[in-house]
Subunit: 281 residues, 2 copies
């Protein structure tokens, strides 16, 4: 296939590496020529462009891998500059789907939303790696009976992903729990620790912090702009998740206040038993 | 030196490996003979015992590496069975210090509390590994001017740890933030996700859960009994930390409810900037 990738960061670059190794022709686009050159050198793309006007038109699929706020503007540019043939399928990798797919389908009838759940602690083309997507889950918006959604699913499966078809509302509600709530919960930890009013204790807590703090605070300390976009685009589901979280936290706190230690152990055992249901082999 | 380790799990076993490689004679004790044999085979100890009455008396230092609830009963047994010479120093590795050190000092004047902040996701003698403590922080209760605390600090430093002297109250307040609060915050995440009332959405959220959920939920899904003990032994500091956490979480929630997106991004940026102060190179 002839495939375009717009946005050459961790996701776009890693996808290019895998798709090229499967024999597809892959072009890449970034506004930054240095990024394009890096992607070409590492073998993530066959050719690069830095503006819309020179993009080829005869593409089978275009992946929009820009930051979430750039997805719809990029699709708009593709339409405005007449870069899409009627049969070209456009998909994205954004972490919220209702807002993006609603707008995307208005702009292009062959738009299919995707959300590959893969990444690492880094970002940018230099962090791109082969097999990033292997054995990771990917949501594809639509039904398996849709030729467009089916083709997009096939491409994600070809790079090793396990595809789940769903609608945008189900997607956004599901990721509010396991992706967006953790960001808020985790950010609040770093913010809370900073509320210690003795500077000596604060210094000691910083010195003694270990893997428990590091893991729990990690996703909340990621890209603040991405966190803001995700909350904007998934406001209601995220608020529902936070409300439920506050209830669970208050329940744990209550057992400690009332010294109901067996109840505390019961809830911690429940958490211990629940977590494996969310983890992949 | 002649060193005893009582409790041959991840911490006790790893400590034995490192201390023996430094040339010390190390005996180990566990109630389970199979555990003792494993520790001997992997080179974590020179000799083992499974009851108090046969323990040697001429020890320089004994490390109590049992689960937290076993520390004081073990010290009591050492005293009752007359296994301690006046000069023998006894230390422990428990994650709370006021409760343990207060009792420990009553039972043995040469008792020094320690808290090495090292571990991994596993437990038990099979998880023991050399260099587990290297470049990790360790709290030692007391002043550097105390010969007993100084000797204990020297041993922890010899296995690569960075030692911080402090009193029990400062220790417990500091670890409430960075060690005990994360357990509660993290457990509440798994419990909250289970509150989704649609089973289809719950299934989808479990299928899509990725590294963000995995990291944030990890410490809350650890040993429930350890979580209970830690809350019992550090109740007041933990409740203070939870109160402050609730305030920070409510602040984040408020920015989302009121769509104060710039404020949300400001708080997320603060979290992003705070976290590195807690992380070691």
């Amino acid at each position: 296939m002839k495939i375009g990738i717009i946005g050459l960061g961790l996701i776009g670059g890693s996808l290019g590496l895998d798709l090229r190794s499967l024999g597809h022709f892959v072009w890449g686009m970034s506004r930054k020529e240095a990024t394009c050159e890096s992607a070409l050198e590492m073998g993530a793309i066959d050719k690069w462009f830095s503006d819309f006007i020179h993009l080829p038109q005869d593409n089978d699929v275009i992946f929009l891998c820009t930051p979430i706020g750039g997805i719809i503007p990029t699709l708009q540019d593709l339409v405005t500059t007449d870069r899409l043939l009627p049969q070209t399928i456009v998909t994205d990798v954004g972490s919220v789907k209702t807002a993006i797919v609603t707008e995307g389908e208005k702009l292009w009838s062959n738009f299919v939303g995707s959300h590959p759940m893969a990444g690492n602690a880094q970002s940018g083309i230099q962090a791109a790696q082969a097999h990033l997507f292997n054995a990771r889950p990917c949501a594809v918006i639509g039904q398996p009976s849709s030729p467009q959604a089916s083709l997009v699913a096939q491409l994600w499966r070809s790079v090793g992903m396990e595809v789940y078809f769903c609608d945008t509302v189900a997607h956004d509600r599901a990721v509010a729990w396991i992706s967006h709530l953790p960001v808020v919960v985790s950010a609040a930890l770093s913010l809370a620790c900073d509320r210690e009013d003795s500077s000596a204790i604060k210094q000691l807590s910083r010195a003694l912090a270990s893997s428990g703090f590091a893991d729990t605070s990690r996703v909340g300390a990621g890209n603040p702009e991405l966190g803001k976009w995700m909350a904007q685009a998934n406001k209601q589901s995220l608020l529902t998740a936070i409300d439920n979280y506050e209830t669970s936290l208050a329940q744990l706190k209550q057992t400690i206040e009332s010294e109901a230690w067996d109840d505390l152990e019961y809830h911690l055992t429940t958490a211990h038993n629940l977590r494996p249901h969310y983890l992949r082999e």
